[in-house]
Symmetry: C2
């Protein structure tokens, strides 16, 4: 057996253990009887620990060193590079630190649940301080060039830099804040009553899934189930799961949730089969992943063309609820812009402000410019500045997201990076192949999917997000295309073209 | 950490890996998208291999040796004993033999599928010869005192001996063959039309599950799903899965299948929580397991008292299908005795003959008294002798079961051991507590379940099947109680009391 074959064999074992653990987790959210939770937690911890032990073996270090010396080409080089990245990250942390972090995360998570229920930031504050302290120490262990935030970012968006994000977000803020203010000033006479009519859940599922099938999600390799929070996971590219949630009195939740996860699913499905059971076999980053989910959810699913094509079928399933509606009226209803407190309920125009706010506060906390005790005040000041709303309580303000309590610091920006990239990619696809835009006007998504597979999906983790972006769009990531998309779409919807 | 704690920690890892693998397998049969099968197979093989590696570690051998020297008492002694059994079995086989066996099993399984489809035993014969050769070599590796068959049996029924089984089966055959002949001679004027009426599947599920809940199967720790072949599996005693299959035109399949698996489930649920994540945490043997499934399926579910109590609810769900029926008529219909070719479709009277036949042929093949080439002839001769039927083809004869092609030799007797034990246990429970029989007459199963938990379930693998049988019933396993049960039940149904 050659070194590369031996490495692949050892990585295959790690991949299988991680896949099994993925199934334990997916099943916990979708199928598992409630009493099983306690032991399931132990099982998940064991699988993670055995996978870590197998991945950080000395033999893998030896093989990596030998292969790096031999300068392999092509996919093998990419595999060695990605494995080295993961290996170094997995082995740079002292065992005591990993244990302290796991313990603190667990405590912080429980403290957050309690603090949120009581809407009392003060009881969570000491845990949040510890989480930021751990993040600083983590950054020191794994190392960074310019800013400790880069070390955190790198787990979610390999190669990204805080400085770049600050610049891109600055441009985005500068260009979309006036747009948002103009929309709010224009007022809104639309009647949104249709959004809260009674849409039976089984028929919502039928419609959501028919569209997902049209996007390319085949039951041959996928399933849709229900969970409290929608997610995508997969145990191989032939074994992809998405979940959604359903509210009979708010159909957008299930539809856009399903199409969002379908975007993630199509990405994982499109990764080259040659990368099976290796660290290359998944999306390049959270940001690139989010570009795919947002593309199908928003750029396709919230487009005028989509609702022109799909409204007749939607109306066929819900004739009474939609008797007074048209494709155009649904298009407007599902694109309502409304500054609000909650990130996960935000529309395309306001969403990124929720992210910028979190990114800026993370930097301030990490650099020590902001004390944890002063966070709620800083949060509310930025909400007022960006969105003109202030939270009456901590639960709907600074305590709304699970991320910080789980140690996910440096994660939030990837949501907006995904938004920006989604438009940049769709523009590139349309320029490259006229069949893409023609297809979108006719409800045929194969040309779009085919371009995405060729230019994004198939690379898996063999390229960095920056490399994928530049190869696919000819440019680094920037805010321009997204700003242009928002301006043109919402000036039209809100009659701002005066 | 003491030695016993360290042993439990190491065994906990193995248990978690096996539980994860159990989930991979359950999910493959119930939920998995079809294209996922190939990689799922690799994942299952990896988990089995990592679990084997962890279980056969030198450290476990050291800990076992130390603990054996220290003579621990109670549950710890049982844990050491069971772990030693498993450890020795897992380490006595040379790696080359394990690999050869896995390869041959895989080939034999595919050959069996093909041979069965073509109903051509000849193409399967060479593989079956190899499987029996491997079984003989396996017995030599693991060792035995009296008969190589004992070494095979021991995997499924620890401590059982071929000689004992031969004796018990002899008694069973001698006493039930005349009964079967009398039933056949008496003729049968019953109209079985109700069995093949249209019973919508969702209502079958409702009824099957309502009864299973009454038996004690709580959704808090269990699920019922659909699979091609019904089975029970669990990933902890808090996480139990049963499956069933449904035929709208044959309701007994789903009802008795569900209750059978519920019996298995109640057993696993009843194992002492103190044995969690150790080798003691499952049923004592296949035979004891089958006693629990048959007890709920047959002794309860096919009893007159059961149908008297449950018929009104059954009729409420299926008013048209059951308009001309009574509890008594359903009781008679689901207890139809009919000699037939297929083991899995056999009734209580004929079932054990299918098993005796297989047991006898396994012994003959293992001892070399019968050549594989002559097996179909021997099979047909025994079928004619015991059941008075002969198979027109190999598919419905010697090729009907999956077991031999999968290397499961020495497995069949456990089905009949379970039948015998089920009656012996129910008689003991009734003698011990009058509330058991009263409960069965009123559709209250708590007294029965409570006795089974106290006398069978809670011990898990901490006692041998023989020990459980003798403690619970005051006697070794014997055919007498079962024979008496059959005679009394079927003489009444078929009017033989003249």
């Amino acid at each position: 057996m050659t070194s590369i074959d031996e490495l692949k064999t050892l990585l295959g074992v790690v991949s299988d253990l991680n896949a099994a653990n993925g199934l334990l987790s997916w099943e916990q959210e979708t199928m598992m009887p409630p009493a099983a939770a306690r032991v399931r937690g132990l099982q998940i911890a064991t699988l993670a620990s055995v996978a870590h032990e197998k991945f950080t073996s000395e033999r893998i270090e030896q093989l990596l060193a030998a292969l790096e010396g031999a300068n392999p080409g092509g996919d093998d080089a990419a595999l060695v590079r990605a494995t080295r990245r993961d290996y170094d990250r997995a082995t740079k942390l002292p065992v005591e630190f990993v244990e302290e972090r796991a313990r603190t995360q667990n405590e912080a998570h429980h403290a957050w649940i309690e603090a949120r229920a009581k809407s009392d930031f003060k009881t969570f504050a000491p845990y949040l301080a510890k989480m930021f302290d751990l993040a600083r120490r983590y950054a020191d262990f794994v190392g960074y060039e310019a800013h400790p935030y880069d070390a955190l970012l790198d787990d979610y968006e390999p190669g990204a830099r805080a400085e770049e994000i600050r610049r891109v977000f600055g441009q985005l803020r500068e260009e979309t804040l006036p747009l948002l203010r103009a929309i709010v000033a224009a007022g809104d006479a639309t009647d949104y009553d249709v959004l809260t009519r009674d849409f039976p859940i089984d028929l919502q599922r039928t419609f959501a899934l028919e569209v997902a099938r049209d996007f390319g999600l085949d039951p041959e390799f996928s399933r849709l189930d229900v969970s409290a929070h929608p997610f995508q996971t997969n145990f191989s590219r032939d074994d992809i799961r998405i979940t959604s949630r359903f509210d009979a009195r708010y159909f957008p939740m299930s539809l856009f949730g399903t199409w969002h996860e379908t975007g993630h699913a199509m990405y994982e499905r499109g990764v080259s089969a040659a990368f099976e059971r290796t660290p290359l076999s998944s999306g390049a980053s959270l940001g690139v992943h989010e570009s795919q989910s947002r593309l199908f959810e928003n750029l396709v699913g919230r487009s005028r063309a989509f609702w022109e094509v799909y409204f007749p079928r939607f109306q066929e399933l819900f004739p009474e609820q939609l008797a007074d509606q048209t494709g155009e009226s649904i298009y407007k209803a599902v694109n309502r812009v409304q500054p609000s407190l909650i990130r996960v309920e935000a529309d395309e125009v306001t969403y990124n402000f929720h992210i910028m706010l979190r990114f800026e506060l993370e930097l301030d906390l990490l650099e020590g410019r902001l004390a944890v005790a002063d966070l709620p005040e800083a949060w509310n000041a930025k909400m007022a500045e960006y969105l003109g709303v202030t939270s009456p309580n901590d639960a709907d303000g600074v305590l709304q997201d699970i991320h910080w309590s789980s140690g996910l610091i440096g994660y939030f920006p990837t949501y907006s990076l995904g938004n920006l990239l989604s438009v940049q990619l769709l523009e590139a696809a349309k320029s490259a192949d006229s069949a893409v835009a023609e297809g979108l006007r006719a409800g045929r998504f194969a040309p779009l999917l085919s371009w995405l597979r060729e230019n994004v999906h198939r690379f898996g983790r063999s390229l960095l997000p920056r490399e994928i972006t530049e190869r696919a769009t000819g440019k680094p990531l920037e805010a321009g295309a997204y700003v242009q998309y928002l301006k043109s779409k919402y000036a039209d919807i809100y009659g701002l073209n005066s």
